[in-house]
């Protein structure tokens, strides 16, 4: 009983001593999170390069608040925007500096420990960044630098084999689709216009077809979208495909479903030709 009172006394004294420090730390955290958002940091990290990037990634995150959970979505978007693994590792490591908590740390562990620990963060972040990048690049595999001649040679070899492979496949598919078309009781040729490849229309149509008893053949994209207009918008591409079925049952239903799918994806049907 006496011991538990002692426990309570110690806890209360420590709490009372630190109370206003804790409260001020809460305000520091709030202010820093409102004024310095991780997004601003990442925008800056994206702009700098080379040693400056390391210098930035190993120091500035020390002042950030937030928990690890909130950092990962940010570092993911950093990586997608092209930041190197090293910079991201340094960024995450430096973030453990926790500057808003420094008053609290100093209260319980002393200023000497606090300052040394915080300063040590910088070299730690740089070393983890550099070593981690070396390891990850080996492990994940980055594009290997090869001299141009050799690359050209390899590319020709690869290209030839790919063409051969595609030829075989195309001929096979071609024969099958010819057979399907000639055997079919009902065929409609669709011509459509829109963001066909971006919206994955071929796959969506194939999925639809696989649920029912009809086939979609001879899918051709007539104008692949490689062109960009001056305002950055893509030109829509055109595609053709033929719906074939062996029985005339439910044909109108199938057609409606296809039209709906195209409609949902903002694809225009240019023509529907029965033959």
């Amino acid at each position: 009983m006496q011991k538990s009172i002692q426990v309570a006394t110690v806890a209360y004294k420590a709490f009372a001593n630190a109370f206003w420090i804790i409260i001020s730390v809460f305000f520091f955290i709030g202010l820093i999170q409102a004024w310095v958002t991780p997004e601003q940091m990442s925008r800056y990290l994206g702009k700098t390069a080379g040693w400056k990037r390391y210098a930035f990634a190993s120091t500035v995150p020390i002042f950030l608040g937030g928990s690890l959970f909130t950092m990962f979505p940010l570092t993911k978007s950093l990586k997608e925007k092209g930041a190197s693994n090293g910079a991201i590792l340094a960024f995450l490591t430096a973030w453990s500096g926790k500057a808003p908590l420094l008053p609290l740390e100093a209260q319980f562990l002393g200023w000497k420990f606090t300052i040394i620990r915080t300063l040590l963060i910088i070299p730690t972040a740089i070393v983890i960044g550099i070593l981690g990048e070396i390891i990850l690049d080996k492990w994940e595999g980055v594009p290997v630098k090869v001299d141009l001649e050799k690359m050209a040679e390899d590319e020709i070899l690869v290209a030839e084999s790919v063409v051969e492979e595609l030829d075989k496949e195309y001929n096979l598919v071609n024969m099958q689709s010819k057979k399907l078309v000639s055997e079919a009781k009902y065929r409609v040729e669709f011509t459509i216009l829109g963001d066909i490849l971006e919206k994955n229309i071929p796959v969506k149509l194939a999925e639809l077809a696989s649920q029912y008893d009809y086939d979609l053949v001879k899918f051709e994209v007539l104008a692949p979208q490689l062109n960009f207009s001056s305002d950055g918008k893509r030109f829509p591409s055109k595609a053709k495909f033929i719906l074939v079925t062996k029985s005339k049952e439910n044909v109108s239903e199938h057609l409606d479903k296809i039209r709906n799918l195209l409609n949902e994806n903002d694809i225009k049907i240019v023509s529907e030709r029965e033959f």
């Binding site: 693994n85 983890i128 990850l136």
Partner: protein, 161 residues
């Protein structure tokens, strides 16, 4: 001195909030909301941490702490500190009071450095999120490298403090 330092921080915080309010009311509102949220999250944890501090102070003997976490504990003490820090689900704000209690009982700064560093940098609880966002390889490399680096630096603390 110790009694006043809290008021100095509080005054600093008040001045900063005031400046912030003059510059941008909206951001200040956000800041105060964050402050409230953090306080609500952290204060209950701190309550238990301070009780824990009391328990350590009263029930745990200096010999015990010195043997396991003191300067003579060597690499094992550092490893214990690191592993506890990595496994424990602990708020960063709660790390320091808890560490302070251990220091008072004779834990070495090297061990406390190891514990405090892994507590913020490595988290068993955050591993799934890290794998989901950054990938398995990144997660493994980051956590193991951090663990090793913290261990090596902790060895140096003997010469620092």
């Amino acid at each position: 001195m110790n009694a006043y330092i809290g008021y100095i921080y509080l005054a600093t915080a008040a001045v900063l909030v005031f400046i912030s309010y003059i510059k941008d009311k909206n951001k200040t509102r956000k800041a105060l909301i964050t402050t409230g949220k953090v306080a609500l999250n952290v204060l209950p944890v701190l309550f238990f941490i301070f009780i824990l501090m009391g328990i350590i102070q009263i029930f745990v003997t200096k010999d015990l702490v010195a043997r396991w976490l003191g300067a003579s504990s060597g690499i094992w003490g550092i490893l214990i500190g690191e592993i506890v820090g990595a496994v424990a689900l602990i708020e960063p704000a709660a790390v320091f009071p808890f560490s302070g209690a251990l220091i008072a009982k004779g834990a070495s700064y090297a061990v406390i450095y190891a514990f405090a560093s892994t507590a913020v940098l490595i988290g068993m609880a955050t591993l799934p999120a890290e794998i989901a966002f950054m990938g398995k390889k990144f997660t493994i490399v980051r956590n193991i490298l951090s663990f090793v680096m913290i261990f090596l630096i902790a060895l140096l603390w003997r010469f620092i403090m």
